[in-house]
């Protein structure tokens, strides 16, 4: 089959590789029809993520058609499914509590040793995101092997377009969980740092959960425009001082809930040394951690901070004093995708959530390397690229 493989910094290639097969009883093989490039994939592209190996197939936002099943799968050939980016067993203690991203059994036993020293316990497996997260082949390919297919994938009714449901795989549940973790109450003002896909879905979700006002913070004009379209007020942090603006816009109270969706593009699992390398060598500098610091300082006394933004290592100068003195609550975590998929599929079917607005480009899988470069170089114009393995080679739509 053809697949997008990683070879080094800014070097990804569409190559012919071995087809996947059923290996374990609960496996299914999915023929990919749509697969997105995630902001977090750019960190693989930039070679910031350790434990990635040459030839690894990337991609963790994908959907397609079931073409083969193991004896333990509950799927049927021909069904269309969206696959969660987290690989979770469904039968351990954490899965039974719907804490799917904390699954005990998603990672191969040997890979669990990589994460355990950093996090204390190993986490769930992820598709296409280095060997620290299991070394599973990703979905930017024609086919993918999906473990625990009786638990993860959600079946999509006929007649529903891929583009409407593809984001159930990651960014829509992630934005929704971010808003849920903000424990929004009627009348609340919610501030969202970062208007990437997760931030934009958090904006929509916050309104659906009863927020009276949402204030979106970013510096890309196009992304702020999208937030505005969903009813958010905006702060462009290159034009205005964020803390001062938030205080003025809330009468000196501060937002009731603050969502940090800035670091989210790094679904990262950085060891601290890699973290330091990133800090010194890239444009991000310390800004990455800056958003969570600013959220804590701006948040009203007794308020809630939600952090879908992924921090993999350690952070300096965390304002623990403000956090304690103001009695804030912080909720965070990798998304428990399987828990949110059914409800969000319903929300999409009932047109309560708009997903397709995000897609700026569609292109064939064969042009995936070009897609990475575009996404990397043009963050304002490119909000989301969806690769279609079955699509004719044609200019990007």
């Amino acid at each position: 089959m053809r697949a997008l493989t990683w070879h080094g910094k800014h070097d990804v290639r569409v190559e012919t590789v071995d087809d996947p097969e059923i290996v374990n009883p609960r496996d299914a093989i999915i023929k990919i029809t749509s697969t997105a490039i995630c902001g977090s994939d750019l960190h693989l592209y930039d070679a910031y993520i350790p434990t990635l190996q040459k030839g690894d197939i990337l991609g963790h936002e994908f959907m397609g058609e079931v073409v083969d099943i193991g004896p333990g799968s509950t799927l049927k050939k021909g069904q269309r499914v969206v696959v969660p980016f987290t690989i979770s067993c469904g039968s351990c203690f954490h899965c039974s509590k719907h804490q799917y991203s904390a699954c005990d059994n998603g990672l191969p036993a040997d890979n669990q040793d990589i994460a355990q020293p950093i996090y204390g316990q190993p986490m769930a497996g992820l598709f296409g995101y280095s060997h620290m997260t299991g070394g599973y082949a990703g979905g930017q390919a024609e086919y993918v092997r999906v473990p625990f297919s009786d638990v993860g994938p959600i079946v999509i009714p006929d007649g529903v377009d891929d583009d409407k449901v593809l984001f159930l795989s990651d960014i829509l549940p992630t934005g929704w969980m971010a808003a849920e973790n903000a424990e929004i109450e009627p009348g609340d003002t919610v501030a969202v740092w970062g208007c990437g896909p997760v931030g934009l879905f958090a904006v929509q979700s916050a309104f659906l959960m009863g927020a009276e006002r949402v204030i979106a913070i970013d510096h890309f004009p196009r992304r702020l425009e999208l937030a505005k379209r969903f009813g958010a007020e905006t702060i462009n942090y290159e034009e205005s001082r964020t803390y001062e603006a938030l205080m003025e816009m809330t009468g000196g109270i501060g937002p009731d809930a603050c969502i940090d969706a800035v670091g989210l593009e790094a679904h990262g699992f950085f060891a601290d040394n890699v973290w330091d390398q990133i800090k010194v060598s890239t444009f991000m500098g310390t800004d990455r951690a800056h958003s969570i610091r600013q959220a804590i300082i701006a948040c009203r006394k007794g308020g809630r901070v939600s952090m879908p933004a992924v921090y993999g290592g350690f952070v300096d100068k965390f304002p623990l004093g403000a956090f304690m003195e103001k009695g804030l609550t912080l909720k965070t975590g990798q998304t428990h995708v399987q828990h949110y998929m059914p409800g969000l599929l319903n929300a999409i079917m009932e047109d309560k959530v708009d997903t397709t607005f995000l897609i700026s480009h569609r292109m064939p899988l064969e042009q995936a390397a070009e897609g990475y470069k575009m996404f990397h170089d043009q963050q304002n114009e490119v909000t989301k690229i969806v690769l279609k393995p079955g699509m004719d080679q044609a200019p990007a739509a």
């Binding site: 203690f93 039974s96 040793d113």
Partner: protein, 197 residues
């Protein structure tokens, strides 16, 4: 340091986690026929009933499913079994293991028979986990790491450090009993077979 503590005044933490080496060695004292002195002790919680996990382990022919470097374990009689372990260079090493203690649903201890090239012994205990979370499974393994070729066999069986292999084998046991399979990132059968060797 715990020097000021009178005997019996230690904390409630398992001996295998003690900072002092002599206290860690006491973890082995519960073994009837301790063979060797390199101890590896690990506990994992498995979301299954105690008796079911005991039954799986007591049928020693199941062990190669979860212990990475075991080629086979065949029952010789009710107490004895023949263990065949992968050796470097594609060969195998084997010995007879005898069950030295057997408390159904609670504990199994074993030791290699006299004359084994690699004297080894171990104990696996099963306790109800609090809060209805299944079973705590604790493994303690002792072996006498020899030098030379056999030493390499053991290094492979237990990898660099016995604690690592015991931890990984317990995780595989947990995966097999909780999910019915052992997680692998292999994309196809060929890759899977390669990883097994």
């Amino acid at each position: 340091m715990a020097d000021h503590l009178a005997p019996g005044e230690h904390d409630d933490a398992p001996l295998a986690t003690a900072k002092q080496a002599d206290r860690r060695e006491q973890a082995a004292n519960g073994l009837d026929e301790a063979k060797g002195d390199a101890v590896s002790g690990k506990t994992v919680t498995i979301n299954r009933p105690r008796q079911e996990i005991y039954d799986f382990w007591r049928d020693v022919t199941n062990l190669p499913k979860v212990m990475e470097n075991l080629v086979s374990v065949d029952a010789v009689d009710g107490q004895r079994s023949r263990w065949v372990v992968k050796a470097p260079g594609g060969g195998t090493v084997e010995w007879i293991s005898v069950i030295t203690e057997d408390r159904p649903g609670e504990l199994i201890a074993w030791a290699s028979e006299e004359g084994a090239e690699v004297p080894n012994s171990g104990r696996i205990e099963f306790r109800d986990a609090p809060g209805g979370r299944g079973t705590w499974v604790s493994a303690t393994i002792l072996y006498d790491p020899p030098a030379g070729f056999i030493g390499k066999v053991i290094a492979k069986m237990f990898q660099r450090e016995p604690a690592i292999q015991a931890r990984r084998d317990l995780r595989r046991l947990k995966q097999f009993l909780e999910t019915g399979e052992i997680a692998t990132a292999a994309r196809n059968r060929r890759q899977y077979e390669e990883e097994q060797n």
